[in-house]
Amino acid sequence: MVLNIGPQHPSTHGVLRLKVKTDGEIVSEITPIIGYLHRCFEKHCENLSYEQVIPYTDRCDYIASMNNNFGYVVAVEELMGIEVPERVEYIRVIMAELNRIASHLLALGTYGLDIGAFTPFLYMFRDRERILDLFEMTCGARLLYNYMWVGGLSHDLPVGFVEAAYDFLDYFEPQVKEYNDLLTYNKIFIERTADIGVLPAEVAINYGVTGPNLRGSGVAWDLRKAEPYSVYDRFEFDIPVGKGLVGSVGDCWDRYWVRVQEMLESVKIIRQALQKMPSEGDVHAALPKKVRPPKGSIYKRTESPRGDLGYYIISSGKPVPFRIKMRSPAFTALCVLDEIARGWMISDVLAILGSLDIVLGEIDR
């Protein structure tokens, strides 16, 4: 039987259609059909100036807009050779890591929802709201920020942000224990996720899967450590990898667990960044008068919550980019779905899909 999961379905995380060939409950083939959210991001970019692209990058991965901004501005800055003030770098790291927590909270919450647990979703949403409050305090927007600019930031931190951020971190850390009690170590949850959809490391690398999904397969690969950009080389943090605590390495539970651990690592980074951040400094100091990179091209990767977020920018020396290609981590993560979800049941397919943490806005662009 051919079953159409989506484009309207409660757990496809957006507008995704999966053509699933089933034999009873067992799935024999999955064909993801994407493009329902295609908004011609790359075509748009060829008609916009470099600054105007930034709000569009927000809308690609709308769960982690800060990280998208970050990747883009880092790439353009490297192309132009801009040195960014230290304070800006630290603020960017704080924002990116806060957004990583927010993104992981949403990923974990909706993953619980896919498995059938409703309550953790709302707890995580509640805490995510607090992060969004911090963002709103900083730049006025709650979801699509347009906060990082080429060479700087749109605003400096507001008065009282540092205290509010510390407040949040102090509040947040104990909450993780609650999530663990409620969901992570829940036997039903473990039954549903352990040993399901095992993604071996070689397959993951061959399929270009990155980020928490790759780390869940036991590969300690994190661009923040491997190719430190911005000021990530100044922080101490660990790379959590999947160890197969309840099943085998690389199963859904490992991917989930890596995200839980990563939130705690992000908390560590934010604490260090808040301490080390220079308290004075003009965030507009390095803003170029006109963003006009010299001729050339660059491929720059940064670590977004979903994995390696790459921007391939070709500049022809004009204020409008010649070509911008976004290599989205969720694109490759969805690519591997057929490989790892074959032979499992319909319920498992949705569990695996949820554990890959895709954002359709980023896949379709």
Binding site: H38, N206, Y207, G208, A226, D308, G310, R327, F331, T332
Partner: protein, 163 residues
Amino acid sequence: MSQDIRTILKKAFPAAIVEQEAETEDYLEVRPGEWFEIATFLHDTPELKFDSLQCITGVDWGPEAHLEVRYNLHSMEHKHKLEIRIVLDRTAPEVPSVEKIWRVADWFEREVYDMYGIVFTGHRNLRRILLPDDWVGWPLRKDYETPETYHGIVVPKIKEEWE
């Protein structure tokens, strides 16, 4: 890109590497003919071991110029990277598919095909990926013209007048 990779490749495939004026450029230009063999070599040779294909970018240099495909490779083990550029003829852009070597290329190549009409020979499932199957034209080419309608739906070229 280290010079070693360049020399290794030049030794193995003397005909396929396009000579560049500046050897310091951090990319390698390759002729499309032997690309599949080169890719296999890059993937399998232990001292290169480019096990991860980061990105495939299609580029159109304008209606009078050529198309280009760029591959960003990376090695998880040796932590080195390489950019491969393949210049293609605009009228019949064909390049061997590397989808069998790096499975991730499956979707990347489909995307490039979708946007530029570059045919990846040997790809097992070369269909449009982001656009509908019956879309006409290659949208990211510089000479692309937006169609008036799609199945009777007006494709707005410019924003409709407000009044």
